[in-house]
């Protein structure tokens, strides 16, 4: 696990907020603003975006000096991150191209492989178990509409 370069959490947070606020304002300005009497759709979002930026500035200004997010607290964990997100995205992709059974099996399997202590055998067993339970509960128990097998 290689540590990210150490940085100040408050400063980075402030930067994220200012960027997000600016994006919200920029997009919000494309909607009708109106005046206080009759506010358009853009009024509140622009106010909120501005607030986000202001709070971001306030956090940045009041941030305590020094590095906070050091090696221990923020190591990169690409395998875990990719597998967890891959599990969710996999569920969507294989849900469209495959159906509920492959989607469930693969998303659980992908997600389980994110943990370093899980073996392939454990992940397969877990995926089979969850697939069987899931199909029984949601398709036969709650009669959810999700084809077991499908293509596109």
């Amino acid at each position: 696990m290689k540590p990210l370069r150490s940085f100040n959490k408050d400063r980075v947070g402030a930067g994220v907020l200012i960027l997000a606020g600016a994006a919200v304002v920029a997009q919000g300005l494309s909607y009708r603003m109106g005046a206080l009497t009759r506010m358009g759709a853009g009024f509140i979002p622009v106010v909120l975006g501005t607030l986000l930026m202001l709070v971001g500035v306030a956090i940045g200004v009041t941030a305590e000096q020094g590095d906070f997010g050091t090696a221990e607290s923020l190591p990169t964990e690409w395998r875990g991150w990719l597998c967890v997100l891959g599990g969710v995205v996999g569920f969507v992709v294989f849900g469209v191209y495959g159906g509920l059974v492959p989607a469930t099996f693969l998303s659980v399997f992908i997600a389980a492989m994110g943990d370093r202590t899980n073996s392939i055998r454990d992940a397969v067993l877990l995926a089979v178990g969850v697939t069987v339970t899931g199909v029984l509960i949601f398709v036969y128990g709650l009669s959810m509409t999700f084809p077991l097998f499908t293509w596109g």
């Binding site: 947070g13 509140i44 395998r79 997600a111 877990l126 995926a127």
Partner: protein, 508 residues
């Protein structure tokens, strides 16, 4: 008062209908089960089961959600006491003395006391709810859009600043949540906002997708391969749950004081249960004859905060139901579920939907009785559940999250929203931002916007209505006080050398 009792009787009738009772039991059981699992808090439990309630009628749905809530609260206490693992923030305090009790072999007694304290506190909270709600209902009718938007502002401010951690970060997340609430079709003008032409987004962000992203996926992303959650080898049987006479005596007054603290704070919108438990704990420590016992397994340190959390929770339902202003993220989720069901909480709710309101109150009490009935014999099962390793737990939970969100609208697009909010939540978590205010802002956002815009329409755009209408002026005054208090405590912190921040409360 006589009317209140009569209404309550009606409520028991509603809650005891076999169909409703069944969902209530189901909710308590599932909530307890999920709450016990390591790393699954009340928020995760409610978000995961939220989609399930979409298919059932409003009354059983809300009874079931409430059941899930207190079931998972209690389940969380089990994890906190036996595993030193607070999966729901209010239990962080319970760990301080609960876990040492487990190590000393009195974990069972700690659980027993928790159960008694929460039952007692919840009963008191329910009584307060019964007698205060009709009064509040009368007051609430005087509330126009101006007052409603003012008190929402107060609730949001309190929710943002009175939780643990940096108040500014809380405010930032509240504003972010308010923004997420504006995504979708603008109710007044029909304009599509922040949808980027994507059809699925015109209905706005799905509540379940948002909360499961923030409290589920984000949590997996931060926890995976980082924190080793070890199973507990504590063995607790039914017999162990009975506290000794001395322990009972020691726990009695802390339980009363904790309940009082919880009720006091319950009436204040926006103050979450976490801060309440910290105050109850700090109070016990302050008045204890021998404060050094705290942190080493003092039963008072378990009884008081648990009682406070439960009475606070019950009383919290008053502003949630009668004003439509949730006290914390859990209440916000319940409120969101009601709105999805087409029920608008607010002053009219008690008279328009008496079955929901009084049924809910009655079901609280029934639910708390159920908790005791369930937990005494099932404690052995719960302890076994604690041993499920995290590496098997999170992939299975991930599937339930995906399918749960899918089932709300039969839409795979919502599942992608979960992934997106998981990433956003993980980034904010890593930067030490609190998650709960986002949900609070999201649920209140559309209502706040609508009321504010209506207030401005009525007053022809003069902001001074917030100062000329007496009730609104009082509320705005309270907001100003809150902000001044924050500024004052910041100025004090800057002048003094840096302290431990959130630890302060405990050290005092």
């Amino acid at each position: 008062m006589g009317q209140a009792l009569h209404d309550l009787w009606f409520g028991f009738g509603v809650a005891l209908q076999p169909h409703n009772l069944m969902w209530s039991v189901f909710g308590v059981l599932l909530g307890n089960l999920i709450g016990v699992l390591p790393g699954m808090g009340a928020l995760t439990a409610i978000s995961m089961l939220l989609p399930l309630t979409y298919v059932i009628a409003p009354v059983p749905a809300i009874l079931m959600l409430a059941g899930i809530f207190y079931g998972s609260m209690y389940g969380g206490a089990i994890g906190a006491i036996l595993l030193n693992l607070p999966s729901h923030p209010p239990h962080a305090v319970t760990c301080i003395d609960g876990y040492p009790m487990t190590k000393a072999g009195r974990g069972g007694a700690a659980l027993g006391v928790t159960m008694m304290a929460s039952f007692f506190a919840a009963s008191v909270g329910i009584l307060i709810m019964i007698f205060l709600s009709p009064v509040l209902e009368v007051v609430a009718f005087k509330f126009g859009p101006t007052e409603i938007s003012a008190i929402m502002l107060l609730g949001l401010l309190a929710g943002a600043t009175m939780s643990r951690g940096s108040p500014l970060k809380g405010v930032a997340m509240t504003v972010f949540g308010l923004f997420v609430g504006t995504i979708g079709t603008d109710v007044i003008s029909g304009t599509q906002r922040y949808t980027f032409g994507i059809n699925e987004m015109s209905d706005g962000i799905d509540l379940a997708a948002l909360s499961l992203g923030l409290f589920g996926i984000a949590d997996f992303l931060v926890t995976i391969n980082r924190v080793e959650i070890k199973g507990s080898d504590a063995k607790v049987s039914m017999k162990d749950m009975r506290p000794t006479k001395a322990e009972l005596k020691q726990a009695f007054f802390p339980m009363l004081r904790g309940t009082a603290v919880g009720c006091l704070f319950g009436a204040m919108p926006g103050t979450g249960p976490t801060i309440t438990t910290f105050i109850a704990y700090a109070l016990e420590r302050k008045i204890a004859k021998d404060p050094s016992r705290f942190g080493k397994g003092a039963i008072e340190g378990v009884a008081a905060p648990e009682a406070a959390a439960h009475s606070k929770t019950q009383v919290d339902f008053i502003p949630t139901m009668s004003l439509g202003i949730p006290g914390d993220a859990v209440m916000a989720l319940l409120l969101g579920a009601l709105i999805i069901k087409g029920i608008q909480p607010g002053p009219q709710m008690i008279s328009e939907h008496p079955d929901i309101f009084w049924g809910l109150i009655a079901s609280f009490w029934i639910g708390n009785v159920l908790l005791i009935i369930l937990n005494v014999p099932l404690i052995g099962v719960w302890v076994k559940m604690l041993q499920v390793p995290y590496r098997l737990l999170y992939p299975a939970a991930l599937f339930f999250i995906c399918i749960g969100v899918y089932s709300t609208h039969n839409s795979l697009f919502d599942v992608l929203e979960v992934a997106a909010f998981g990433v956003i939540g993980a980034i904010f978590l890593a930067l030490d931002f609190p998650m709960a205010p986002i949900v609070l802002g999201y649920v209140l956002g559309p209502m706040l916007e609508e009321n504010f815009r209506r207030a401005m329409l009525l007053s022809r755009g003069t902001l001074s209505v917030y100062l000329t209408r007496p009730i609104a002026a009082w509320i705005i005054g309270a907001c100003t006080l809150l902000i001044l208090a924050q500024l004052w405590s910041y100025a004090r912190r800057v002048r003094k050398p840096p302290t431990l921040g959130s630890q302060e409360l405990l050290v005092e």
